[in-house]
């Protein structure tokens, strides 16, 4: 049903990307850079070698998780700004299980991933509970929970699992989801099993929402909570469930980073940002599973390609943040893109008339 993006939904992001790149080109010209060579090195930085493609996929993976988390909450009528914090507690839980448990890999990996899902889920369920039972708006609570997660994870790493430098100890190799054969396929890029898990959960989200009784309730509660209540559904319980699942998805993203890319967790002075980017990814993907995957690819590729652009043609990384910002701007104000699409549709019609 909604697994495939509807026709009109594809046009808007596409036009928005082109428009945003034009705006980026103008910004480059104003700053005295050559946009053509900049964009050339930008695309080189994404596609030109298996290594770069592998690294792009690495960049995309956590965004799929947080994008799914935000999209899922949106579908059920909730605005989860807390993917950031849920991601962090998920990462911490996965890394902690990775460090302190000694198990064969076929138990260790699932256990670490499960711990991350539960930790992220509970972190999301707290705002869900407060919303359902006390009417506190989830935007406020999830933002506050982000800060709590941020400070709490740093504290726990420093107190209980600190290594020499400002990071946690390494996880046991049995908990790692980074595999040499996979890296070797991509010339040693840090691609890992997380991308497979991400795609699996994208499908599971679609399946849950559109094929199950639980999904039916979540969608009904999300689109019209009064009608859901009238039909005898337990609205409050569904809100808590939705926030748990949303948080679990973000937590899985944390596990994927912790177990796949680094094998440890750093004591950080800034938010990783993937949770906030997840909001934009969900928006670009119009809250569908396939849309989130495409949105995450776009976002991850832009971010990663920008690093190469900076190295190869000396254009600052921030230019691409401008492009990203304008993509979101044009999608959010989709009327601009729609009117351009409208114009594009009219042109062949007119020329046909003229020819006749």
């Amino acid at each position: 049903m909604n697994f495939n993006m509807k026709k009109h939904n594809i046009g808007v992001p596409f036009v928005s990307i082109i428009l945003a790149m034009l705006v980026g080109a103008v910004a480059m010209l104003l700053a005295g850079y050559n946009p053509v060579s900049a964009y050339a090195s930008f695309f080189d930085g994404i596609f030109s070698s298996p290594y770069l493609m592998g690294e792009t996929i690495r960049q995309v993976t956590p965004l799929i998780f947080t994008g799914l988390a935000v999209a899922f909450a949106f579908r059920t009528g909730l605005f989860n700004i807390g993917a950031e914090g849920q991601f962090l507690v998920g990462q911490l839980a996965a890394v902690a299980v990775g460090i302190f448990f000694k198990l064969p890999f076929f138990l260790h990996i699932p256990l670490a991933i499960l711990a991350a899902a539960i930790a992220g889920g509970l972190w999301g369920a707290i705002p869900g509970y407060l919303k359902a039972k006390r009417g506190v708006h989830e935007v406020i609570t999830t933002i506050m929970m982000n800060w709590i997660a941020f400070i709490l994870t740093n504290y726990l790493i420093r107190t209980y699992m600190k290594a020499e430098s400002e990071r946690s100890m390494d996880i046991q190799p049995t908990a790692s989801i980074s595999f040499e054969w996979l890296s070797d396929l991509f010339q040693g890029a840090r691609i890992h099993l997380g991308i497979v898990i991400a795609l699996l959960f994208a499908f599971l989200m679609y399946f849950l929402l559109w094929r199950t009784k639980q999904g039916f309730e979540l969608r009904a509660v999300g689109s019209n909570s009064l009608a859901a209540k009238y039909a005898g559904m337990n609205v409050k319980r569904n809100i808590i469930k939705a926030m748990f699942i949303s948080g679990a998805l973000a937590g899985l993203g944390g596990a994927s980073e912790g177990l796949g890319v680094y094998g440890y967790m750093t004591i950080s002075s800034v938010f990783p940002g993937v949770g906030y980017d997840g909001i934009a990814v969900a928006l670009i993907g119009s809250n569908t599973s396939i849309g989130v995957i495409l949105g995450a690819i776009l976002f991850g590729a832009l971010t990663f390609g920008a690093q190469n652009m900076q190295m190869a043609s000396d254009v600052p990384y921030e230019i691409i943040r401008i492009v990203i910002a304008f993509i979101i701007f044009f999608i959010a104000s989709s009327d601009i893109a729609k009117s351009i699409l409208g114009l594009l549709r009219k042109i062949p019609l007119r020329s046909r008339k003229g020819g006749a």
Binding site: F216, E217, A220, N224, K229
Partner: protein
Amino acid sequence: MPLLRPGGQSYQGVKRMALAVEMKNITKTFYGMKANDDISFQVEKGEIHALLGENGAGKSTLMNILFGLYQADQGEILIHETPAKISDPQMAIDLGIGMVHQHFMLVDNFTVLENIILGAEPRKRMSIDYNKASKEIETLSNQYGLKINLNSQVRDISIGMQQKVEILKTLYRGADILIFDEPTAVLTPQEIQELTSIMKNLTSEGKTVILITHKLKEILTIANAVTVIRRGKVCDTLRVKDTNEVELAEKMVGRKVTLQLNKDEKEREGLVLSLRDVRAKDNRGLDALHGIDLEVYGGEIVGIAGVDGNGQSELVEVITGLRQAQSGEMILAGNNISGLHTRQIHEKGIAHIPEDRHRLGIVMDMTLSENLVLNSYFKKEFNKRGLLNEKSIKAHARKLIDKFDIRTPSESAKIRALSGGNQQKAVIAREIEGDPKLLIAAQPTRGLDVGAIEFIHRQILNERDEGKAVLLVSFELEEILSLSDRIAVIYEGRIVGIVDPKETTEQELGLLMSGRSARKETVE
């Protein structure tokens, strides 16, 4: 601004009256559908001209064009016989056109005075000149018999009073052509009478009134002329004295209609629902139900008559478990249902057609087939170990689409795409299909056209004839009177009288509804 008066000769003596409004060949298309198709329409100065048509016939579109909310694709408007281009409501107001909307546009916690002058405040240096404003408004209200306390807050006054505020608002802005959009929908019979005399006062003072309505009786008592619109086209313009109810109804619908329901006598059966001293609070925490006692038997329709806001919504919500009662006892066919959840109550046999189908009855973003299982999706038929059985959900939908004649492109169409009447049919299909013991129908025909109303009334009567108990809540007295076997009048959260529809009049009901206890006629 001063208006150009048309040539003086047409005022007196001459056959042709001056025209206040003339709309010529108006066409307006929405998404390829012609809402107004070459409509021409004339209103004489000083008359009450009714615009009659079913929902979706195009009468509101036409008036919104006159008031500058929409632009016509083609056609011409003349105000006082001068061509006018009205591209927004402010231009309409400047031309002396005022609109009293169906849903009032008032600020609840402002006073009457503040609401009237809002956006057109007279100023004295930096501040608002309230004295000047209240003097002007008092002059107006005396002139037209619109008595009202300027210092009350709008949230404290009745709906009828709020409507007067809306009328004063337009007069204060210098309107001399007033458009009323379904003005009687929310009023008691007494308030309707008062409104009628206000409208007559307005026209005797030289104002012109356009009345949008689908109520035939109203036209016959209030209006001088009537223009009937059907499917975007004008069918006819008639002088009211030359026509009658049946003719108007047929012109409006385009076929013969039965205004009188054929209702067979029916012996009532066993007790189905009994309420004892049920009390409940409203959303603001104030007492809404002050001890309701009510019984509904199988095979009878009990109508709850009352003005909006006297506890009807709360009563329905308490019975269906959407609101918790403070105290009291509710028995359904021998089972105590007090304190049960909505789903449990539904499973025990209470079906509920909610008063606001958009807010409660359907989920707009879901498909028709999903909406048809909104309160049965969890049953074995549709749900196997947590997975939805899409095949049987769709088959179920196709069955109901056939049985209840729901017009839809397919069972997988979003219910948003259906007309209001068909959405309501879907709700009714879903509720009746569950074979309930008690059917609660709250405002079942609100906003629907004559054809759909006929169908829905038929369905409700069928349920009664099959021995089901029916509780009907409606603000339309005609509906209550023609369907009910017993009428319970609710006023300020109490049942103030139970009357037999065959032995009562609208007048008597109106008195009960406004809290003035008439001679108490209790029919058992």
